[in-house]
């Protein structure tokens, strides 16, 4: 009886999502799955071709592997670095220092600054000779790299830009840290704990659900990096030397420049499987380190 009621309440609470999923998401999802087995071109063609697209991708498409490599490179560096940086910034922000509201606003600014205008701005900042960054490095006698014009530095440039906007996640951590009862720290302090100890023993476990959230969502997001690369690579197609050809950029080119939508859909499902597996692994691992206060 009680169990039934619990079920009913559960479905009532998640019903908006179910409606949205059935009405707006499921159809396009299944459509793209089917489309990945066709030569769909959006307008005039959708013939079933079996596993042709997948076979072509795995056996005969060099750019597919290049884009996969680039994307993994980006995810592996940007996700941990931005997460760690965000936690550090938030820890520093979570205290009573005069002008904290202004500091928080400043650190959050980069996250608000989004869109094409900002990427164009960053292209200026990263300019090898007149850019602010290399000018700054020159003050210390460092000869800055050619950033976006050097295939070896193009991806680090984007990671660097991502780090700059790590303050966005600060909001999450702050919200979580504000929820940690002050009494915890006071008690620890009486026991003679140091700041560092308190950070590892209290702060980190208490915000672990949010770290978990941040890692999962930024992994998903980083795998889908697109607009930055589209705007910031000189030919909008991954230059120099395909170093910025990320998975989604290549998919975009296939879908909207060459109208190989079926092929792009196959690519999207490969990415889907990769990200889904990673997320499931993350969920399994999370039982070991994520600590839910309420449970």
């Amino acid at each position: 009886m009680n169990k039934k009621k619990e079920n009913l309440f559960g479905y009532i609470f998640i019903s908006p999502w179910i409606i949205g999923f059935l009405a707006l998401t499921l159809g396009p999802l299944l459509f793209s799955l089917y489309g990945s087995f066709t030569n769909y071109n959006v307008v005039s063609r959708m013939d079933f071709v079996g596993f042709d697209n997948y076979q072509e991708l795995f056996t005969n498409d060099n750019l597919f592997w290049v884009s996969l490599y680039n994307t993994f490179y980006f995810v592996i560096f940007s996700v941990p670095l931005t997460t760690i940086l965000a936690i550090l910034i938030s820890t520093m922000m979570n205290q009573d220092i005069p002008g904290m509201r202004i500091f928080r606003t400043i650190y959050y600014l980069p996250a608000i600054l989004s869109g094409v205008g900002v990427y164009l701005l960053w292209m200026q900042l990263l300019d090898p000779s007149t850019g602010l960054i290399n000018q700054f490095l020159a003050l210390f006698g460092i000869n800055g790299p050619n950033w976006l014009f050097d295939p070896d530095w193009a991806k680090p440039s984007l990671i660097f830009m991502k780090l700059w906007s790590a303050g966005g996640a600060m909001l999450l951590y702050l919200a979580a840290m504000q929820g940690i009862p002050k009494t915890f720290y006071e008690a620890a302090r009486i026991d003679g704990a140091t700041n560092v100890q308190m950070f590892f023993k209290i702060t980190l476990p208490m915000v672990s659900p949010i770290i978990f959230f941040d890692v999962i969502t930024s992994t998903i997001g980083s795998f889908q990096i697109f607009q930055e690369a589209y705007v910031m690579s000189a030919d909008n197609a991954g230059a120099p030397e395909n170093s910025l050809l990320f998975f989604n950029l290549y998919m975009w080119i296939r879908a909207f420049n060459l109208f190989d939508m079926g092929y792009a859909m196959a690519m999207s499902w490969i990415l889907f499987i990769i990200v889904l597996l990673l997320t499931l692994v993350n969920f399994k691992l999370s039982k070991r380190w994520v600590h839910y206060e309420g449970d």
Partner: protein, 443 residues
């Protein structure tokens, strides 16, 4: 909580007053019939939706004027203009075609007409186009709008690459400012005279082929034709292309890769214009670049010339692009759409566009009239005339249906040769075989 309810209450009120939430006017795109703006129901007017990416303070008034002229010139069709952001306009168009509710006329990229025609995104307009109309345009532009004997679009405007050079600096080093270089060899000689070297770095770069232009333009210039032929033949691993890359690399060796990158990136990021500042006295650029010189470098004394040729007699082949007006697949009244397209590409409209925007128009005679237009000053007339003359040797490189993604295969290899990561011999060999393979696969 009370505040929240107040907010909801407030927004419901605004909601009623806001057009975005009223369902009635949801369907403005039609091409079917509708009342004219003033609402007087005299005769049924055909309303056409026209999408362009011309929203700037420069271009918008010009296209709006052309539309107004068309609307007042007759009373059956009323064209409504919608500005849609550059580049993204075509994504939106594709979605609208897929949903069966596209605009009636759109401005699109001339390079992809054949490909999009092949994919069924454009309504053919062959039946409406008379010879008199299709003969208006530069041949290479009209060719780009035709796919398998059907006409899919009419060309609107184009551009072409020319050599810009700084006359004052020519004079300063003892070169004749009225004698621009005519061959690659002369380019190098002039460059050597114009160079200023201080302690191993070049303060002034006499000439470097890849400032302003890309490798593909020089390859085209050297070959006199595209490296991928319509029939699928690939001309990359050939003598002229080898020579092109060796020439570029020699020049790069002289100036040093870092110096080049720094100038080039400034140019791309619009941080600084090295031609305007005199750091680069010769440069190949899109002829439209004149507008920037006119507006932002009043004192600069410059000249223009055709692209120098690889060896005497090889030809001054240049490269161009441009835009067309077309009817997206599924538009409800292609005939009416065509009427407007014909007006857009008429002598009158094209001349007006050319004069107001300093844009090279597709209508050959309108271009000639514009070259002598009183709207331009002397140097404007000179540049415009050069653009028109250049069209004789300007090639368009429409994406071939046989290998639409050829550039994506070849460009990274070209980049790698220029950056020194691959040598010319093996790079070109690789590009040749990969492109041949691509063509083979697509057959």
């Amino acid at each position: 909580m009370r505040k929240v309810f107040f907010l909801i209450f407030l927004s419901t009120i605004i909601l009623g007053a806001c057009g975005g939430f009223s369902l009635g006017d949801g369907d403005t795109s039609s091409g079917g019939t509708g009342d004219p703006e003033d609402g007087t129901a005299q005769e049924e007017t055909i309303v056409l939706d026209f999408w362009t990416f011309w929203g700037s303070e420069q271009r918008r008034p010009v296209i709006d004027q052309i539309i107004e002229d068309f609307n007042t010139s007759q009373d059956e069709i009323e064209v409504r203009h919608t500005y849609t952001p550059w580049g993204d306009i075509w994504t939106k168009n594709l979605a609208a075609i897929a949903a069966g509710d596209p605009p009636d006329v759109i401005i699109n990229d001339i390079m992809t007409v054949k490909l999009r025609a092949e994919e069924g995104q454009i309504e053919p307009i062959t039946e409406f186009v008379q010879d008199e109309v299709s003969g208006r345009f530069y041949d290479q532009m009209m060719d780009a709008a035709i796919h398998e004997d059907e006409i899919y679009a009419l060309p609107f405007n184009t551009d072409t690459q020319i050599l810009f050079y700084n006359k004052d600096l020519f004079e300063e080093v003892g070169l004749d400012p009225e004698q621009p270089p005519e061959t690659w060899e002369e380019l190098d000689e002039y460059a050597a005279q114009l160079d200023i070297e201080e302690e191993g770095t070049y303060e002034r770069i006499g000439f470097y082929p890849l400032i302003g232009a890309g490798t593909d333009i020089w390859v085209l210039n050297a070959l006199g034709e595209n490296y991928l032929q319509d029939d699928g033949e690939v001309l990359i691993d050939t003598e002229p292309v080898h020579e092109t890359f060796n020439w570029i690399l020699d020049s790069q060796d002289k100036y040093g890769q870092n110096r080049i990158t720094s100038v080039n990136s400034q140019f791309e990021n619009a941080q600084q214009d090295p031609f305007m500042s005199g750091d680069v006295p010769m440069m190949v650029q899109n002829a439209n670049y004149y507008v920037q010189l006119r507006d932002f470098a009043e004192d600069l004394n410059f000249g223009v010339a055709p692209l120098p040729e690889r060896v005497p007699g090889n030809g001054n082949t240049s490269w161009g692009g441009g835009f067309v007006a077309e009817v997206p697949m599924g538009a409800s009244n292609p005939e009416a759409s065509y009427q407007f397209i014909e007006y857009l590409t008429s002598h009158e409209a094209q001349l007006y566009w050319a004069e107001q925007n300093f844009d090279l128009v597709a209508h050959e005679e309108a271009g000639v009239s514009a070259a002598g237009s009183g709207e331009f000053d002397d140097s404007g007339q000179e540049v415009y005339t050069q653009m028109i003359e250049n069209m004789d040797e300007t090639l368009l490189t429409p994406q071939p249906v046989i290998a639409p993604d050829y550039a994506g295969t070849v460009n990274p290899i070209f980049e790698s040769i220029v950056s020194g990561n691959t040598d010319v011999e093996s790079g070109l060999e690789q590009a040749q075989s990969e492109l041949e393979q691509l063509v083979e696969d697509n057959r």
